[in-house]
Symmetry: C2
Subunit: 350 residues, 2 copies
DNA sequence: CTGTTAGCGCGTTCAA
DNA sequence: TTGAACGCGCTAACAG
C-alpha cells in the first residue's frame, strides 16, 4: 500500500513547543508580528527556521476563508493563430502573483458555458479568491456573473461599454491598440508610403474598431487617404485572401503600397500572399502586424509588429486584484498601457 | 459584517439536514456511493442538487491530506525560440487534469534553484499532491529531490539514464525524436535528395543525440551518406549561421540539398539563411523542423515539421500521476509516443 | 447500511 | 503581551 506520500511537516504546535510559547503566539508572529515583543518574536522566528516550518495552506484557507489563489483560464491555442501571447502572459502573471504572495490555478474550459461552470466550481469550493479574465466583450456573461456573485476579478482587455461609470464597468488593464497602429502608420509614412491600407477585423469587434481608429486618425493627421481596407476574421487564410483582394485593386481603385494589419496572424497571411504574387515584403509592399508574437521575429523577412507590454499588464492586473482583496480602494480601476513598435524588414524599403 | 465577496455556500450539514441523514452519510454519498442504499443515495443527491452544494476544497484537503492539485512550472518563453509548445501543452495538461478531477497550480521560478524552492514551498504547505516536470536531463537535481522527498511526479521528457532500472529512473512520457527525424529523412529522400545534412544540438544534449541518431540510421538504411552536419545551440541565429557554413561547403566537401533540423527554431534560422543566399526553400534546398510550432504553419513558405502529440503526452502524464496517487501500480511507468511529420512547402521540390 | 466520535492545522474569539 | 478554548467543513475509524 503506497498511497500519496504523507508529508508530515512541522505544525504550529511544534513551533510553539520549541519556542516555549503558545500556538497563538506563533500565529501572531506570522500574521501580526507587531503584537509581539521583540524578544519572543525573535525566539519564535528562530524556531520556525529551525523546524523549516510552513503554515498549512488548507488549514489557513479553511479558517480564514481566503486562499491566495487566483484562477485563470487557459485556452486552446489554435494552430492558425499567431496570438500565442498566452504563455508569455501566463508567465508574467505567475511572476506578478508570486511577488504578491499569490499562486495561479489554471482552469480548463472548452467553450463559454463550460468556462462559467469552471469558474463557479472554483468559486463555490472556495478554491480561489479572484479571477483574471481575458478578452472582454460587450455584455459579457462572465463579467455579469462575477459582479452578481461579488467575485473579485480583473480583466486583460478593457470594458467596451460606452459609459465608463455604468454598471457594466469593471477593473481592467489593456494595451492602447489605436496608439500601436498609429505608430505603425507613422513608421510606414516615414518610409515614403502614401497609400496605406488596413487589414482589420469585422466591424462588430470593439477591439478591431479601436485599432482601425488608430489607422484612420494617423492617416488623417498625415494628410494621407485612409480608403483601402478589408475586414476579415482573425485567421491566416483570411489575411492572405484579403491581401490578394486589396492588391487586385478592384474597380480600378488605388493600389496600396503598405498594409497595416491588426494582428500578426493576418500579417503573416499577407506575407504569404505577397510571396504568391512574387512581391517582395518591404521593398514592394510593406507589412506590419500586431502582437509581436514569436513568429514575427522568426519568419523571413522579419515582421514589423506592435509589441504588447505583457509583463506590465500582468503586474497591473495583479495589483488591482490585490488591492481589492486587501480592501484598499485602488487609485484607478483601470489602466491603458502604451505598446511599442518593433521594426523589422517587412516594412523597410531599404 | 459579511462582505459581499464572502459567499457562504451550503455545507455538508445543510445537505444532511435537508436529506434527513447524518453528515457522514452525505460524505459517503460523495466519496463512497456504493456504501449507501439506492434510496438514501437518491435522497442525498437531490438535496445536494437543491442546495447546489459543492464540498469545500480546503476542508477536504485538510482532512484527507490530499488536494487534487498538481503543480507545474511555467517558463519564460524566450523570443528567439520557437519551442512555444508550452501553452499548447499546458492546455492539454489542464484538460487531462480536469478529466481526472485535478486542477493545475502554476508555479513561477526564475532559475533552477528558485524552481526547487518553489516546489518545496508548494509541497510543504500541502498545496499540491504531485508535480509535472519538463525537460529532464542526466543527474537532474529536481528528480533527485522529488525522489528523496517521496513526492509524486511525472516528467515530459524521458530519463536519459542508461540503465532504466537504476535509481535515477522515474515516470516519464516522451516523444520518439529519432523516429520523427527518421520520418523527415525518408520524406526528403522521397523528394530525390541524396545529400541530407543535419542541423543538430551540441553533443552534450541527450535529446539532441537521440534525434541525430534518427538521421544517421535513416541515412544508413537508405544507403545515403550522413556526413554534413552542424551542432549548435537552439537559437535562431545559430541555425542561420550553421546553414551558411554548411552551404559554403568547407574544404570542398559535399553541398547538402536538404537540411534536417532538430527544432523549428533552427529550421526557421536556416530559412532565413536561404533567403539571404537567394536560395528557394524546397526547390533549391529542402528544410524540415521539429515541434510543428505555430510559426511553422504561419511562415512563408510553410515549414515541414515533426508534430509532437502533446494532448497524448499530457493525458499519459496525468494517468501516471493519478495511478501513483491512487496507489495503483501502473502497467508501465513510461511511454514513448510516436510523432507525425507534417509536410509543407519548405521540403517540396515543386 | 447508517450514525457517532474525533480530529486535520490554523486563527478568531475571549480572558488573563 | 500572551494563552485557552472553540470551530472552519470535512472524513477516517469505528460503532450500532
Amino acid at each position: 500500500m503506497r498511497g500519496p506520500s504523507r508529508h508530515r511537516g512541522a505544525t504550529l504546535d511544534d513551533v510553539a513547543r520549541r519556542a516555549e510559547v503558545s500556538a497563538m503566539t506563533v500565529s501572531n508572529a506570522l500574521n501580526h508580528p507587531d503584537r509581539l515583543s521583540d524578544e519572543t518574536l525573535a525566539r519564535v522566528r528562530s524556531a520556525i527556521e529551525d523546524l523549516d516550518y510552513r503554515p498549512n495552506r488548507s488549514a489557513r484557507t479553511l479558517r480564514s476563508q481566503t486562499s491566495r489563489l487566483v484562477g485563470v483560464r487557459v485556452e486552446r491555442s489554435r494552430q492558425d493563430r499567431a496570438a500565442l501571447l498566452l504563455d508569455q502572459f501566463l508567465h508574467a502573471l505567475a511572476e506578478s502573483a508570486s511577488g504578491l504572495g499569490y499562486h495561479l490555478i489554471v482552469c480548463h474550459a472548452a467553450g463559454d458555458t463550460a468556462e462559467l461552470a469552471a469558474y463557479q466550481e472554483l468559486r463555490q469550493t472556495t478554491a480561489v479568491d479572484a479571477f483574471v479574465l481575458t478578452g472582454a466583450h460587450r455584455d459579457d456573461a462572465r463579467m455579469r456573473w462575477m459582479r452578481e456573485q461579488g467575485v473579485t476579478f480583473a480583466c486583460f482587455g478593457r470594458s467596451w461599454d460606452p459609459d465608463p461609470e455604468s454598471p457594466g464597468a469593471f477593473p481592467w488593464v489593456d494595451v492602447d491598440g489605436a496608439a500601436g497602429i498609429r505608430a505603425a502608420v507613422e513608421h510606414l509614412a516615414g518610409q515614403g508610403h502614401s497609400e496605406i491600407g488596413l487589414v482589420g477585423w469585422p466591424a462588430d469587434s470593439d477591439l478591431g474598431r479601436d485599432r482601425e481608429r488608430g489607422w484612420r486618425e494617423a492617416c488623417a493627421d498625415l494628410g494621407l487617404p485612409a480608403r483601402v481596407q478589408a475586414h476579415v476574421v482573425d485567421e491566416f487564410d483570411a489575411g492572405r485572401d484579403a491581401a490578394h483582394r486589396l492588391l487586385d485593386a478592384p474597380r480600378g481603385g488605388p493600389v496600396p503600397t503598405a498594409l497595416v494589419c491588426v494582428s500578426d496572424t493576418l500579417a503573416l497571411g499577407v506575407l504569404r500572399a505577397l510571396s504568391e504574387r512574387g512581391l517582395r515584403p518591404g521593398r514592394d509592399v510593406a507589412v506590419t502586424g500586431f502582437d509581436n508574437s514569436p513568429s514575427a521575429a522568426l519568419t523571413t523577412p522579419g515582421l514589423t509588429s506592435v509589441d504588447q507590454p505583457l509583463a506590465d499588464v500582468a503586474a497591473a492586473l495583479m495589483r488591482l486584484i490585490d488591492a481589492e482583496l486587501s480592501g484598499v480602494r485602488p487609485s484607478a480601476t483601470h489602466a491603458l498601457l502604451p505598446p511599442r513598435l518593433v521594426v523589422r524588414d517587412s516594412s523597410l524599403a531599404r
